[in-house]
Symmetry: C2
Subunit: 233 residues, 2 copies
C-alpha cells in the first residue's frame, strides 16, 4: 500500500534571481526541496522521487541529506521530467502525488487529505482555495474586456493526487501530443488528466501552500517559518 | 487639481476574528487604515475620506491621529458607504481613488501610477497583477468542470482610480439597480464602471498590495513591515 510522490524540481527559478535552482533556495536554514519532502513524508508519503536539473543530482542529494528520497535527472520540459520520475515510482504504488517544491510550506494535513481522497476512489484530486481577488480578462494594451465570474472559481495548489494508471495515461497522452508537434496547454497535472476525460475532485487547500516565485514570496515564507518556530518554542 | 481618495472601511472583518473592524487591526504598531492613508498621501493624494462603521467614527479618528483624513459614517452596504463618502469629496477633485484599507502595504508607486493614468485621460484605472495559480471552475461537490484559460487573466487590486463623474455615474447606476431590487454583482468599483460601458485601463499592480483577510495574511503583513524596517535601518 505504497504512497509515492514526485517532486519535479528541474526548473531554474530565474525570477528568484539566485543563480541556482529555485528548489535549492533556503528558507529558515532548509532548502525548499527538503522542506517539501518533509511535508510529504509527514503527510503519509512513503517514497519521494525528486527530479533535479541534469547534472545537479549530487547537489540535490546533498540538500536532501538522509531524507527518504530518490533523485533522478530531469528532461527538457516538465512532461519529460515527470515521465523520468514515473520510471522510478514503485510498481506497487497505490497513490502517486505530484508536488511543487515551491509550495514548501504546504501543511501535512493537505497532503493527507489528497491521499485519502485518492484512496476513497477519486482518480485525480487537487487541493483548491477560493479566489480572493476580483479577476479581469484583459486584452491588447491591458484594457479590461470583462470581469470574470467568480462562481465556483478556485485556485489549485499541490500536491495533486492520482491513481498511478491515471497519471501515467495522462502523461502518455500529453507526450504523444507534444511529440506530434502540438502544444501542451495544461499548466498542471490534473489539467492533463482532464484532457483525457478524467473527473478531478477537490479537497480544501491552505494559504500556507502558496507558491514561492518571487523574492517577496521568499521573504513571506521566511517570516512564516520564523513565526511557526517562535510559536512552537 | 485635487486628488481625493475614498477608503470604505465599514466592514466588520469577521474572518480576522479580532472583534473590531478589520481596518483597526494593527500591523507593526499602526492600524491598517492609518497605513493605507499614509500610502495614499505619499503617492500623491490630497484629501482622504474614510468610511467608518456607524458609531465607530471617533475610534477611527483616534486611529488616524493627525492624518489628512475626513471620517464619515458608512451605510448598510458598500455601495451606500461609497455614496456617503462621495458627498464629502471636494467638488474640484480631478481624480478620485477608491482604496481598500486591507491593502495597507500598497506601495506609493502604485498609487502614483493610477493617478497618472486617470490624468492621462483614462476614466477608470485598476492596478492588475498576473494570476500565478492554475484556476479551475468547480461545480457541485467541488468537482472540477474546467481549467480556466489564463490568457490575459489578471487579479485586480486597489486603489482603483476614476474621473469623478464616472465614479458618481457608476455608483448611481448601481444604487438605482439595487433600489429596484436587482443584485449588485460587481465585486469592485471598476466593475460598476464596466456595467455602464466605461472602458477600464490597467497599470501594473504589486504583490505587496495584497489584501489582508485572514490571520495568516496579517502575519505576512507583520513580517513584511518588520523586514522593511530592518532594511531601512
Amino acid at each position: 500500500m505504497t504512497v509515492a510522490a514526485i517532486v519535479p524540481a528541474a526548473g531554474r527559478g530565474e525570477r528568484l534571481g539566485l543563480g541556482r535552482p529555485k528548489a535549492l533556495a533556503v528558507v529558515g536554514g532548509l532548502t525548499l526541496v527538503a522542506r517539501a519532502v518533509d511535508g510529504l513524508v509527514e503527510g503519509g508519503v512513503d517514497v519521494v522521487v525528486v527530479v533535479a536539473p541534469p547534472g545537479g543530482e549530487d547537489e540535490f542529494r546533498a540538500a536532501l541529506d538522509h531524507r527518504r528520497a530518490t533523485v533522478v535527472p530531469g528532461a527538457d520540459d516538465r512532461v519529460g521530467s515527470v515521465a523520468a520520475a514515473l520510471g522510478a515510482v514503485p510498481r506497487d504504488a497505490e497513490v502517486v502525488l505530484v508536488h511543487d517544491a515551491a509550495r514548501c510550506l504546504c501543511p501535512p494535513e493537505v497532503v493527507r487529505a489528497v491521499i485519502d481522497a485518492v484512496r476513497a476512489g477519486h482518480r485525480a484530486v487537487v487541493p483548491a482555495t477560493p479566489v480572493a481577488d476580483t479577476l479581469k480578462r484583459t486584452g491588447p494594451a491591458g484594457v479590461v474586456i470583462a470581469t470574470v465570474d467568480r462562481t465556483g472559481l478556485a485556485a489549485v495548489q499541490t500536491p495533486q493526487g492520482f491513481d498511478p494508471a491515471t497519471l501515467r495515461a495522462a502523461h502518455e497522452h500529453a507526450r504523444s501530443g507534444r511529440d506530434a508537434g502540438g502544444p501542451v496547454t495544461a499548466t498542471d497535472d490534473a489539467g492533463l488528466a482532464e484532457e483525457i476525460g478524467v473527473s478531478v475532485a477537490t479537497v480544501p487547500g491552505d494559504p500556507r501552500a502558496f507558491k514561492v516565485t518571487t523574492p517577496l514570496d521568499l521573504a513571506m515564507a521566511e517570516a512564516l517559518v520564523a513565526a511557526a518556530t517562535a510559536g512552537a518554542s
